[in-house]
């Protein structure tokens, strides 16, 4: 069966460099995702798979379907294929550097010692992101003893939340965690598995959330930093707008939102002010927000 599918993909007409460029440009405009030449094999393979599966006669036929299908279903299919759903500790950690090097110091400056700073990871999947935030704050923010850091973590999938709360991970998730941190914060289990120590597990508050449900989103207010990475690329334009606007309401004035590296806020909303911290751009709700 798999071999048949591979043969079918191999038999589909090749994609010319111009067609590839055209697809990448279109894909970028619609999703904000950019593919470099290095990703060409990855993109072409999936593109040819969709050309075959949709019964299109070739690139031009398929591109017309992508471009003009009113429901946008095929674009969604392609987006799903182009997105790698994997997570691990310290993924895109330059944003964590921006958190402890720039965002937290800026937030701390504006409030009294001992006050609370709230960070929300959504979607949090199996917990690698919120736990990475916890470890990074503990390890790298000098002022962390002076403030109460509250970490919230939410996902629509209750199964991944159970795994997140359990806090047990294998090598794949921990590939970027240095041995010293493993020894300090994890207990080694059988079969090369590691479990986070309870004081870290218990410090993160996990809950289910559907970000497109206004009633559920209304539970979250006064958040100082939101990590919402690699979620909005799955949404259509309207859902993206509505979700970003809902996240705006969740933030405290002056709060920050961090998106995935391939997501572009200026294609979704003009509500936020872009801020560049080191290698990353984050988006800030104006302090004098109206």
């Amino acid at each position: 069966m798999i071999q048949d599918a591979c043969r079918a993909v191999d038999a589909s007409p090749p994609v010319s460099p111009e067609e590839y460029a055209k697809l990448c440009e279109f894909f970028y405009r619609r999703t904000g995702m950019m593919f470099s030449e290095k990703k060409r094999y990855f993109v072409e393979r999936r593109l040819q798979e969709r050309i075959v599966k949709t019964g299109s006669s070739g690139f031009r036929d398929y591109f017309a379907l992508l471009r003009f299908q009113a429901s946008g279903e095929e674009l969604q299919q392609l987006v799903n294929l182009m997105t790698v759903n994997e997570t691990y500790f310290f993924r895109e950690d330059y944003q964590f550097d921006a958190l402890t090097g720039s965002m937290l110091p800026e937030l701390a400056k504006a409030r009294a010692r001992g006050s609370r700073i709230r960070i929300w990871s959504v979607p949090c999947s199996t917990g690698e992101e919120p736990y990475s935030i916890a470890l990074h704050v503990l390890e790298t923010w000098d002022l962390c003893d002076d403030y109460e850091i509250e970490i919230l973590a939410s996902d629509i999938d209750s199964r991944v939340l159970a795994d997140a709360a359990d806090g047990t991970y294998g090598e794949r998730s921990l590939q970027r965690v240095p041995m010293a941190l493993r020894q300090q914060y994890f207990a080694r289990l059988a079969g090369d598995r590691y479990r986070l120590r309870s004081e870290i597990r218990d410090s993160v508050d996990f809950s289910t959330i559907n970000v497109v449900d206004p009633l559920q989103m209304a539970r979250f207010r006064g958040i100082d930093v939101i990590f919402c990475r690699n979620l909005l690329i799955y949404f259509d334009d309207l859902a993206r707008r509505e979700t970003v606007e809902a996240l705006y309401e969740c933030l405290a004035p002056g709060g920050f939102i961090c998106l995935g590296h391939s997501e572009s806020m200026n294609r979704m909303s003009s509500l936020f002010r872009p801020r560049k911290f080191g290698d990353t751009i984050v988006h800030q709700k104006p302090a004098e927000a109206e």
């Binding site: 055209k22 003009f68 299908q69 704050v137 509250e150 410090s203 209304a218 539970r219 003009s270 509500l271």
Partner: protein, 208 residues
């Protein structure tokens, strides 16, 4: 311990104010509330009420807070209809560039509703409005978009309007656009940027 677990239960009920989502008179009254956050909540709630389109459209013209205006456009996209398009099209003539751009982006989100207005927009006496209409077409998922753009290339007297259409055709045009594009290059033979844009568009269309 510097990390503290939330004192708030994630399962706690939402604020009472959200429960007013079905109360149309209350939501309409909320449009005039002094607090922008209350106005945004009202606008978001009205996004589920097609009968509120006139009030939402009217609010666009007087709303002073940019955040509320942004949410107004989102609710109007959700409620997309000929009445919404009728209200948004005049905004393409607005002095306020932000309002014009947001109207353009909103119209791109309603292909079927905006389609009946495209031909008249492309014949508008104001060339800036025609360029904005082409911007609407640039991201409009509608199968007539290439035909409308070819029409512009064939008929429009203004070089900037034609150039905007050429850029668009480079992305969405098919074989039928090639001859009109080459004719345009001859029509504006004294404009090097047109020659350059047409050559690029034709190369893209022919997959060279």
């Amino acid at each position: 311990m510097v990390l503290v677990r939330s004192s708030r239960s994630a399962a706690e009920p939402p604020p009472v104010a959200v429960a007013e989502a079905d109360d149309l008179p209350a939501l309409l009254a909320g449009l005039d509330a002094p607090d922008p956050a209350v106005r945004r909540r009202a606008v978001r709630g009205l996004g589920a009420h097609p009968q509120a389109v006139p009030e939402l459209c009217a609010r666009l013209l007087v709303e002073p807070a940019l955040s509320v205006r942004t949410v107004l456009f989102t609710s109007l996209i959700r409620l997309k209809s000929p009445a919404v398009v009728e209200a948004l099209v005049p905004l393409l003539r607005e002095e306020d560039a932000g309002l014009r751009n947001e109207a353009t982006e909103a119209l791109q989100e309603m292909p079927e509703e905006v389609a009946p207005y495209i031909e008249s927009l492309l014949r508008d006496p104001d060339s800036d409005v025609r360029i904005l209409a082409i911007q609407v077409l640039s991201a409009l998922p509608h199968s007539d978009a290439p035909r409308w753009l070819v029409q512009v290339v064939e008929d429009d007297p203004h070089v900037n309007v034609c150039a905007a259409a050429v850029d668009c055709l480079a992305e969405v045009g098919g074989d039928e656009a090639v001859a009109p594009l080459l004719a345009l290059k001859r029509r504006f033979a004294d404009r090097p940027f047109v020659r350059f844009a047409v050559d690029l568009a034709v190369r893209r269309i022919e997959g060279r």
